[in-house]
């Protein structure tokens, strides 16, 4: 890029208008906006899929769909929510906020950034296209193995598996590019005087996430590539007939899959303390402890993967190792919980929507973490494995811990990004509807799992009927409540009460020193941090 052009031009000068602006942009704010918009759209798409599933599970028996289609919805829902909703939302915030928080004029590798985003829409199409093709009699629909691609089912599956494999390749390349960009930005572009240990927590969360991503996404890419060659080119990586081992796939998949959980959560753990200190009006407690806890969790996350398949027939010493190491993660996590609570302790707290989401998030994510400890117990897991208990557990960590955290971030930074205040009443209504209906959706699923209802099955025994009915009704309330969120965002983007530069009384950090919305090119002269 010709660097002479970066520095001196005013706000809306020399970028193309219309669609070409978005296709060719290298501006971190434009790209962040595209990531966040894409994420919101895919969140709604993935949500519609799961509402189809909850509608089918409203009553026992098969009413609405064939089991094959049910299986496809389950797998694609998960892939979309993880790779196309949650990860792009975190990357979108990284693009928008990291340069503003560290006083950089833009991301370090702007063209790579553009490419990273534009790989996402094609992969979303690859994931969903098989549904459409099946309507025209081509193939038998999307991936029906669940998002985990376990062989031998995925080797026997139809054309949808190939589409999903290529989608995962593209999504993987996209997030690796995004991560490289973030690492380089954080190492090379910080404002003078901002040492690593003065970086905002959000930057720290993303730094660990980015390293986890570049270390584990290639393993997933390798695993699905082996699957592809097993399917079409006669290799036997996972095919026992040729000396392969299907369990090997589970090891490879979860070597990526478990760090992925922390990849989704670490960016949220980054901005949650920032929101807490803003609305508690006192500095965050234990900055260093939180940074070290991030490192501890990041390191532990890559050595605990086999707890996802305790029941696959692992030997006892391996079971014990993975059980203890998994439980060890609760120690640094407990440090984080303690710091979050201590940040609020004796603070002058107020409960605007971002703070409501954050406090609700701490409680609900806590439930997710504690039920994870139950599953980490080898003896207990033998009963709970593949039951609805697991489904409820990971929705407490990834819907409450992931998506509700992202929503807190959206309400926190939306006035900064758009220059307008959102509608506070609608925001609070959105929070309460989301929190209540979320709990009503998933608390019954804990009990369904304890009672033995298996996950990923379209039909169930009659004794599970009442709790499934409650769960389905609450899921529809949860889904419809998100329309308030969408409406609130759109109306805030279009107009509303003018936001001040600082937006929140207790806000700290470089991003709040800029006007709201920040100019198209910000920090062309880097600020100096004392």
């Amino acid at each position: 890029m010709s660097t002479a052009t970066i520095a001196h031009h005013d706000e809306h000068a020399d970028h193309p208008t219309g669609i070409m602006r978005w296709l060719t942009t290298t501006n971190h704010k434009d790209i962040g906006t595209m990531y966040l918009t894409f994420s919101l759209i895919m969140f709604l798409v993935g949500g519609c899929m799961i509402l189809g599933i909850r509608a089918e599970l409203f009553q026992p028996g098969l009413q609405l769909m064939k089991p094959e289609f049910f299986n496809q919805l389950i797998g694609v829902h998960a892939l979309i929510m993880i790779f196309a909703a949650l990860m792009p939302a975190a990357t979108g915030f990284a693009n928008w906020m990291i340069p503003l928080q560290i006083g950089a004029p833009d991301m370090a590798l702007p063209r790579l950034n553009n490419w990273g985003f534009w790989l996402l829409p094609p992969s979303a199409i690859l994931l969903t296209l098989p549904f459409t093709l099946a309507l025209f009699g081509i193939g038998d629909g999307a991936l029906a193995t669940g998002w985990t691609f376990y062989p031998p089912l995925s080797i026997q599956g139809g054309i949808g598996v190939d589409f999903a494999i290529f989608a995962v390749h593209l999504l993987g390349i996209s997030s690796v590019l995004g991560s490289i960009n973030i690492i380089v930005t954080l190492f090379n572009m910080r404002a003078p005087g901002m040492t690593l240990m003065k970086m905002p927590m959000f930057a720290w969360g993303w730094l660990i996430t980015a390293f986890l991503l570049i270390a584990t996404i290639p393993v997933l890419a390798g695993a699905v590539t082996m699957l592809l060659t097993d399917r079409h080119f006669g290799t036997h990586f996972f095919d026992a007939a040729g000396g392969g081992d299907p369990i090997l796939f589970q090891h490879l998949f979860w070597f990526f899959g478990h760090p992925e959980v922390y990849i989704l959560l670490l960016p949220v753990w980054g901005f949650i303390p920032q929101i807490l200190q803003t609305f508690s009006r006192k500095p965050m407690y234990g900055y260093k402890a939180q940074v070290y806890a991030f490192w501890g969790i990041g390191a532990l996350s890559v050595v605990v993967w086999a707890h996802h398949f305790f029941t696959a027939g692992l030997p006892v010493p391996a079971l014990l190792y993975f059980m203890y190491s998994t439980m060890a993660i609760s120690l640094p996590l407990a440090v984080l919980f303690f710091c979050w609570i201590k940040t609020m302790w004796r603070g002058s707290m107020s409960f605007e929507t971002p703070m409501l989401f954050t406090v609700g998030w701490i409680i609900l994510f806590g439930i997710g973490g504690l039920t994870g400890l139950v599953l980490a117990d080898v003896a207990a897991d033998a009963q709970y494995h593949n039951s609805y208990f697991v489904v409820a557990h990971f929705h407490y960590t990834l819907f409450a811990g992931g998506i509700m955290g992202i929503m807190a971030g959206v309400y926190y930074w939306l006035p900064k990004m758009t220059g307008h205040m959102y509608n506070e009443k609608l925001g609070k209504l959105h929070f309460w509807l989301t929190a209540i209906s979320f709990n009503l959706t998933f608390i019954p699923q804990f009990f369904l799992g304890l009672a033995g209802m298996p996950r990923r099955i379209p039909d169930y025994a009659l004794q599970f009927a009442e709790f499934n009915m409650i769960s389905s009704i609450a899921a529809f309330v949860l889904g419809l409540s998100q329309l308030i969120f969408v409406y609130n965002i759109i109306s805030t983007v279009r107009g509303g009460q003018k936001a001040t530069d600082k937006v929140w009384e207790g806000a700290e950090g470089l991003e709040w020193t800029l006007p709201s919305p920040p100019p198209y090119h910000s920090f062309t002269e880097q600020p100096v941090v004392k």
Binding site: I6, L109, N181, I183, V184, N188, M226, L248, L252
Partner: protein
């Protein structure tokens, strides 16, 4: 990131852009390394499993009976199960469901396979032992799983498995299951 002497005449922005590209390329090496690691895990996994027997794979070569000491003080029950994978039109089952024997004692068990299709078909049997840590103590002298089996249309074949349990088998293992899955194999 260090800046070499030839970069000195660049503006600070150009210099930073260059440093960014260099660090970005270094990160690509990490990505390449972990991709290589993924493929390296395939042989590593096999080596680890062969060394420890953790995944229940038995040695697929004939053993000769060296240490023929029979440990008559204890009994081990070996159960047999069989399955046929999709794509292979065979019936396949063990002639007896289990056998009780002393460690060190050599026994022969017969398995029967029948091709129920109208074509000659090749199959390969893949063994697996549960519990996994017992796998390396199950020693085969002769097995139909050592090579591919070809069955003519409608042919029935009775195939022997001659084996013993090593007397070094840990005391706490009193039962084990030997499973054979027949897969369709190409010539």
């Amino acid at each position: 990131m260090e800046i070499s002497a030839k970069d000195n005449d660049l503006s600070s922005q150009e210099r930073r852009s260059l440093a960014n590209k260099r660090l970005g390329l270094k990160m690509v090496w990490i990505v390449a390394g972990s991709l290589a690691f993924a493929f390296a895990l395939v042989p590593l996994y096999d080596v680890l499993c062969a060394a420890t027997g953790l995944n229940g794979k038995t040695e697929n070569t004939a053993t000769t009976l060296k240490n023929s000491r029979v440990d008559a003080t204890r009994w081990v029950t070996v159960q047999f199960t069989s399955s046929v994978m999709p794509g292979l039109g065979w019936n396949f089952y063990p002639k007896q469901s289990n056998i009780r024997l002393h460690p060190g004692q050599v026994e022969t068990v017969m398995f029967e396979a029948k091709n129920i299709t109208s074509q000659a078909v090749t199959g390969q049997a893949i063994p697996s032992v549960t519990p996994g840590q017992a796998a390396s103590y199950l020693k085969k002298i002769e097995c139909f799983c050592f090579q591919k089996q070809v069955l003519k249309p409608g042919e029935t074949k009775v195939m022997p498995l001659r084996f013993f349990i090593s007397s070094e088998l840990p005391e706490d293992v009193k039962e084990m299951t030997l499973s054979y899955s027949f897969f369709s194999a190409k010539e």
